[in-house]
Symmetry: C2
Subunit: 449 residues, 2 copies
Amino acid sequence: MTQKKFNTVSLIRKKRDGRELTSEEIQYLIRAYTDDEIPDYQISSFLMAAFLNGLNDTEAAALTESMLHSGIVVDLSETPGKKVDKHSTGGVGDKLSLILAPIVAACGVPVPMISGRGLGHTGGTLDKLESIPGFTVDVTLDRYKEILKKQNLVLVGQTEEIAPADKRIYALRDVTGTVESIPLIAGSIMSKKLAEGIDALVLDVKYGSGAFMKDKEQATKLAQTLVGIGEKFGKQTIAYLTNMEQPLGNAVGNWLEVKESIDCLNGGGPEDVMEITHLLAGTMIYLGEKADSIEEGIEKSRTAVDDGSAFQKWLDIVEEQGGDTEVVKNPDSYPKAEFIEEVKSQKTGFVTKMDAYAMGMVSVELGAGRRAKEDDVDPAAGFILHKKIGDSVKENETIATLHTNNKGTLTDAKQGMADAVIISDMKPPVGKQIAYKVDKNGVHNYNKG
Amino acid sequence: MTQKKFNTVSLIRKKRDGRELTSEEIQYLIRAYTDDEIPDYQISSFLMAAFLNGLNDTEAAALTESMLHSGIVVDLSETPGKKVDKHSTGGVGDKLSLILAPIVAACGVPVPMISGRGLGHTGGTLDKLESIPGFTVDVTLDRYKEILKKQNLVLVGQTEEIAPADKRIYALRDVTGTVESIPLIAGSIMSKKLAEGIDALVLDVKYGSGAFMKDKEQATKLAQTLVGIGEKFGKQTIAYLTNMEQPLGNAVGNWLEVKESIDCLNGGGPEDVMEITHLLAGTMIYLGEKADSIEEGIEKSRTAVDDGSAFQKWLDIVEEQGGDTEVVKNPDSYPKAEFIEEVKSQKTGFVTKMDAYAMGMVSVELGAGRRAKEDDVDPAAGFILHKKIGDSVKENETIATLHTNNKGTLTDAKQGMADAVIISDMKPPVGKQIAYKVDKNGVHNYNKG
């Protein structure tokens, strides 16, 4: 990376005035900030200018590269084969990583997965994994490589060595109102993913009330930016735009989602979860060169569930990372939350709408999520939905069951859940789960073929 | 002022998303920043959002009020009469304050003038005053009131008690690329002027290459914002848009400009300087209720020069503030710069253009100005123009005389001066010095009556 010096104020003014920064200029800003040569107040001013005036694809790629090279880029060449990971932009009840990672690994594609924690209305894979007694997600990079080599799979958290500039810039964005910017989000995601040592990447970009991007067009733009950066770095990248208007599956909450994932790996589980799981897993298997097409990958994904090899891989990785396999084999033995209460329907009709964001906040209320980064989560807290959009419901029938160890939260949580479900007389049209596929060739309407 | 608490990030996001902040919200941001409850990096992000999305008149007034009340608002009621000041947005060769302040005071209107130092291509009134041996501009607020009461005039620098929030925010804007914003500039100017204790204000808003606002439309918008804020605070405010395409008068440099001002007060001096001086002074005399119209004020201004009362007031204030009146009476006794060199014309024709910005930078080069706030200035350095736009010039005739005590600067300065003057065969049309008058009733074309 260049060590050329620039005038920081001139670079801020350039972006402020809507002009394009060179890659060298962006590299200077990130490198000098990471080295404490530029103070927070100049970078926050730059970030706001970038937020409002945008960064084009070349600038976003330069930002990604600078953050990527602020730390270690892991060399996974000890593990043979094309390493493929999946990243989701986050939603409510999104436990897909827990299901597809063992499926894909069982199909012979190495999956080096570094995940994050939940914040606000969305859950995080690390919190879900940690609800399994003994499961550890904090490992060194050497151990990360070792687990992958041995299991073809590793499920851990970000280490200090991975993209430290991103960590620092993300923390600054969080307190300066500059989070929801497509190029800044894309740079943050891709710098971490590229640092993992992957060869290809599948992205699940969610839109709707339970997603970070409420708007489908914005989410599509994010998917295009992510794919553009991935391809620029020579990594095959395919994204799907998926619907987050209602929670994914029936379970929301850390252990409750692990339990639902175990059902899925054993051939059960909700249909909406398995539709997206097989699509993403099939695409990963295709990118990992263990299938000649995505369709063949999807077939292999289904077989890995049917023949038990995916569940076996799951047991293997739980054991490898210190988790209790007994509770995974017998999920009902897991200690239940102290207070379990049902939310009943006030009327008869059809569920026409669910506010996934509000439901995510109900799960936070019950103890399953975090309002601030420092908060602890309760592994047993959350809720199970008994109805989803399109289902018929009778007056006084149970819509959801709430689980919590904090009795004081129940009144608000029940009200929040009841308010989040709209019941009407008319059966609503069935929405599509997957809207678009985005790859290097562009945006494709998924439902038209 | 309210002590209500707000979420800082929410306020940044509100402005980022183009929404209007309430006066309470703006007051919170400024008060909490001044009290060290909000860090620099959040205010810089807010300032960039305000820069790009703007602040409307209500927001600009709230910003002004918050900064005004961060310090002392001086009570000048001990001095009878309506106190009137003048503020210029800064230019090259702008010595008008030195001439009009004694004129207006001599006409019976108290002038409490707090000025700034020069930076970059523009000079500052304080540097000019300090070129007079012994003249002190650093006084306490008590002494400030005492001088005004005694002399009907005071010419000093900003004290720590005046608008400290503005001082801090200005310093942050300077290093975060958020200087050139109309509402932020207006808030900064007006908070300081309102804190002085004035009853009315005349503004000289300059446009053209030698001004901060190059563009006439932008300068007009600034004038409107300044007048709007002044009137909102119940102070009669009148602004003039004046041309800064070429330096004002012939002298540029601290003592050289004082010397030209003395000529003006003695009935001489360049015509362009006296045209604007009498207009601004006449308007101040009118606002100070010592004339029934601006025209009558202009007549009184001319009389004060002709009858010697303005020059006598100048001698009085120089003496009051510790300056050497002998050198003011005999300006040729002032020690000259060591190196004085002429810049000659390369061709015969008419001066059609002068780059006032470039000439301002030549004066900085020679030692008359500052590149950074900490720099010292040389009181004797600068230049005298022998030609202005529209003048005919012969090959090898002197265009300008440079003055410096730093011989090493002469080569570049001579080249810079020669490059800044365009000579062509055609006599250019005569430009207007004053474009618009802006008052509470709107923008008026000055040259159409």
